[in-house]
Amino acid sequence: MSFLSREATIAQPGFSRWLVPPAAVAVHMCIGQVYGFSVFNKPLGAELGVPVSSINMAYQIALIMLGLSAAVLGKWVERSGPRKAMVASCACFCGGLVLAALGVKLKMLWLILFGYGFVGGIGMGLGYISPVSTLVKWFPDRPGMATGMAIMGFGGGALIGSPLGQELMKSFSAGGYSALEISEATIDQKLLFLVIRPFVAPLNALAQGTISGAMQTLIVMATLYSGFMLFGAFIVRVPTAGWKPAGWKPKEHEKRLVTTANVSVDVAWRTPQFWLLWVVLCMNVSAGIGVLGRAADMCQDMFGVSAAIGAGFAGLLSLFNMGGRFVWSSISDHTGRKAIYCVYFILGAALYALLPWTELTQNKPLFVAATAIIISMYGAGFATIPAYLRDLFGAHQVGAIHGRLITAWSVAAVIGPGLINGQYDRRVANGVPKAEAYNGTFYLMISLLVIGLIANLLVRPVHARHHLRSDLAA
């Protein structure tokens, strides 16, 4: 029995299940760095002398690989247990960062795309699904809250990855920080500077010939993130078979959509319920991207505010994106999953319908409030889906089923922005004023949400013929 095997992670008596959420968050907040990758676009574009869009391809490849690897390797993750999966995720994700750093040094774009996008993306997929099944088993009484917490970590990863990347690149770049900048820096900036100061000279020597500081930044990030991910792998535990929280008894008459049976991943993905949830997730993600991807521009165009205020608006939305994952998903434990997705879709569509009016009346506070709620529900869509899967298919292979379902995210992340930007660009090209051109985008978002709502309303319990025999599910 190796340290990494599932058997080695079985919890001993006295283990607190509240150690598992930090393990999950530790992994998710690292791989969530992908949302902050855009900070590398301009510096790397200048360093390699290629368009920014070429660098951004690494982000797109990473999201595609995230979905594909989660779908393909989900069964392996279930079989191997969370620790081995987290260590594999760490090796791929941090290894990918190091390969990308090598690509910067050698000025090879393909190596950056392969390292960060392909190898790193596989690490993200493994890391994303690795704690899901374990959390659901530890928290049968509150699966929405537990998975919401982990997936909130992914949202938090973006909040960390982006400023961390910027600060590190500034420290390592050819100019570096001036003495004045250091004296005027905030406490956290000074602390970060103190921590990395011993590594600046050796890493700069290693990165000779580069100017952006991106190579050194990627290496430091790989080191930091591996520390957090391995910490998660070290503390994670799986419950013994049949474990239940003290004093908790499963309800005798569960809700109609909450099963006590289990469905295997190979059967689950052939059921209509799986594909209905696939559409639910895809529509929810696409609709959120409509605001998130263009938040700063939208605020500036619709209300004539400065770029700084536009960026502030984008920052506020990222906070709601993170918070919504935990709050809405926790609420779903009380309302039921189908009902909460109806709220996401109906309230989301109503708020999108309100946005053109806020522009017409120049009601900025209402615009900010409405978009913040929309984005909180976008994040919540990700966070609530594992619990919805557990309700329909049982906890047995929920991680693997979740892995196959998040291909919907990859599709939405790649196709969604193109669809939305294309629609906006066409309207502007047809002479529609910029401030009003977004209205078409909002109506498109409403139609996507209506499709998602219909798919959600069609969800019915999985037929008993798909259920696993209880001895096979043990």
């Binding site: 509240w18 930090p22 970590g153 909040l159 502030g312 920052g315």
Partner: protein, 41 residues
């Protein structure tokens, strides 16, 4: 176990809190903008 729990939660809470602070700082101009526009009115 209590000590382990505190360490584990702090290990993730500190970087997350830092990230949240950075985003709050970034979003401050939005609220300052609102104050300025009210003053102008």
């Amino acid at each position: 176990m209590k000590f382990k729990l505190i360490i584990a939660w702090l290990w993730i809470a500190i970087p997350l809190a830092w990230g949240v602070c950075q985003s709050v700082k970034k979003s401050l101009p939005l609220f300052r903008g609102a104050v300025i526009s009210k003053e102008k009115k």
